[in-house]
């Protein structure tokens, strides 16, 4: 039921517009306009639950952006992909019974995970994220999206033009 054809590289930023769970929202706004919208889609998702599957469907590369609570020092930048993602996102707290971890597990069982799934997040602490920490996150996400685009351009499956 997608309203339009989504680009193959998607940055899905998870978070509320309101503090303290607003990292994804801030990151999405910082990332919007940095990419050709026909090649990279940036979306802010406020606690998507199982709707995340709808947003990932058909993508080649999905970069999830969210805050993390893993016990690491506050502000630590986390970059994960593949099975390494399971353990980390299980620590992510969700206000709903069907959160990020459950949604990714369900997508996995249904075969709906994208070919390349990456996660970039910041370790949350007691204080709001600083502007420098958010800038560090945005830079890392932009580099990852750039790498995904380069990889697509050199892929033999990539469409010409």
């Amino acid at each position: 039921m997608n309203a339009h054809i989504h680009p193959p590289v998607r940055i899905l930023c998870i978070g509320s517009p309101a503090e303290p769970d607003n990292l994804g929202f801030l990151a999405a706004h910082a990332l919007m306009g940095k990419f050709d919208p026909e090649k990279v889609e940036v979306v802010a998702l406020d606690r998507p639950g199982p709707r995340l599957i709808e947003h990932m469907r058909g993508a080649d590369t999905v970069i999830l952006v969210d805050a993390v609570k893993s016990g690491a020092p506050a502000g630590t930048l986390h970059k994960l992909e593949g099975r390494a993602l399971d353990g980390m996102v299980m620590h992510h707290t969700s206000s709903h019974g069907f959160g990020l971890a459950e949604t990714l597990a369900l997508a996995d069982r249904l075969g709906d995970l994208p070919k390349h799934l990456k996660f970039i997040g910041l370790e949350a602490g007691a204080k709001p994220f600083s502007a420098d920490e958010i800038a560090q996150l945005v830079k890392a996400v932009a580099e990852e999206a750039g790498a995904a685009l380069s990889s697509q351009a050199t892929s033999p499956q990539a469409e010409p033009g």
């Binding site: 709707r51 019974g97 369900l106």
Partner: protein, 431 residues
């Protein structure tokens, strides 16, 4: 006037999102104490609304629930417009019904596939169920997405939609967008029919109980956005009379209020709605009901999952009908001047009647607000159901079996997503 005993200076509305617990005491083979404890902190939305302008209300109340924001918006605008003297145009009325169909589809499909069905098929959760029945879960997600698409069509986005305002909608979608959505819904309709037959074939417990069903009705249509309040025991009142008949009480073990009808528990939600409004179902949905073999009205509360599936079908039929007749308008909303007064609104949220009352001053600011959600109305019924159902199930069973059965009973009411997900900490006291 209300007879509730809570401190009216601090109105409390607790969504049941979060953790709950069941305390159960069994003595001499009987339940001596049963308490469904809900300890979600009070959210005080009614108090937040005081002093706000009425135009802020639709966006504020949408934040009460991530699953049924449309219901909160529709009950609110109905109440506020009754004060302001706004009579919605047929276009606005039709689009509100369409908007609401999207929420029923989205919410019911989520509950059927991700919350309730695993109980009846012996799975601990939907993820495990997806391993064995991926096609069923995938179909459920597709149907849920269709509901989200309808909400986005009018609301701009599917969660906490922003397209609603007092007086109508901010924007009329294009005819092309309506046609595209209509075709997508038509393509999915056979899968919805299959869903209804699938739920009817589930191995549901066969147990009946005596309870009063309460819903909106007598609206000349299957009740969604409007109607009188009717019941299976002869109640038939205007929504403004709700507080005379129904009383909310604070109980020590719950931050959600318990609501009773003249001292008795009662049922709201899809089974109550369909039991009381069978003759208003769209003809294709009635034909499907005949085919699925479930006899309605039903006093088996476990038929709620079938009622939800039938309501998804009815919502699809209605949405397609409304989209086939759709034409954009230059006046998607009506303006009004502020006016003092008190107004009432009631609509059928996916989980049952959602009742609102607002008092406005002459500048259009909210003086007081009262919101009675379906979850608080069903709480006393859930406790009564648990008592009867667990007695029938057998109190001498192992704790794990009792816990599973109790969870199944509670989830069957779809009290809310986080409450209905595996939450139960069962404490059994057997002397």
């Amino acid at each position: 006037m209300t007879n509730r005993t809570v401190n009216l200076n601090v109105p409390v509305l607790a969504r049941v999102e979060g953790e709950g617990a069941l305390d159960l005491s069994i003595a001499n083979g009987e339940i001596s104490e049963l308490r469904l404890r809900i300890f979600e902190p009070p959210r005080l939305f009614e108090k937040f609304l005081e002093g706000r302008h009425y135009m802020e209300v639709p966006d504020m109340v949408a934040r009460i629930c991530g699953i049924c924001p449309v219901a909160y918006q529709m009950s609110a605008v109905q109440a506020l417009e009754s004060v302001l003297g706004i009579e919605p145009t047929p276009w606005i009325g039709d689009m509100r019904r369409l908007f609401y169909c999207g929420e029923w589809i989205e919410s019911h499909s989520l509950h059927i596939h991700l919350l309730a069905a695993p109980d009846f098929l012996g799975f601990s959760n939907a993820i495990d169920m997806a391993c064995k029945h991926p096609e069923i879960v995938r179909r459920g997600l597709k149907i849920q997405e269709a509901g989200n698409a309808i909400i986005s069509f009018l609301g701009g986005r599917s969660v906490h939609p922003v397209g609603v305002r007092v007086g109508g909608f901010w924007h009329a979608p294009s005819a092309a967008a309506a046609a595209k959505l209509r075709e997508e819904l038509k393509a999915l309709l056979p899968e919805v029919e299959a869903l209804v037959l699938w739920t009817a074939a589930l191995p549901l417990p066969d147990e009946t109980q005596d309870f009063e069903c309460v819903s909106l009705g007598r609206a000349g249509e299957y009740p969604i956005t409007r109607g009188r309040i009717v019941s299976s025991r002869g109640l038939d009142i205007d929504i403004a009379e709700f507080e005379r008949e129904f009383q909310e009480n604070h109980v020590p073990h719950s931050t959600a209020l318990h609501c009773h009808h003249r001292g008795q528990d009662y049922l709201v939600g899809p089974l109550a709605r369909i039991n009381l409004n069978l003759d208003q179902l769209p003809a294709p949905t009635r034909a499907l009901l005949e085919k699925c073999g479930v006899r309605l009205p039903s006093s088996n509360i476990f038929h709620s999952i079938v009622a939800r599936a039938l309501e998804i079908h009815a919502a699809f039929v209605e949405a397609i009908r409304l989209l086939e007749a759709y034409e954009p308008t230059d006046t998607p909303y009506l303006e009004a001047s502020p006016r003092a007064g008190t107004g009432f609104g009631a609509s059928e949220a996916p989980r049952g009647i959602l009742w609102h009352r607002y008092e406005l001053d002459e500048s259009g600011s909210i003086v007081s607000a009262r919101i009675v959600p379906p979850t608080s109305q069903n709480q006393a019924r859930i406790e009564a159901d648990l008592r009867a159902s667990l007695n029938r199930f057998g109190l001498d069973r192992p704790e794990e079996k009792i816990r599973q059965h109790a969870e199944t009973v509670i989830r069957n009411y779809d009290p809310c997503i986080s409450c209905a997900t595996h939450f139960l900490k069962l404490k059994i006291d057997r002397p």
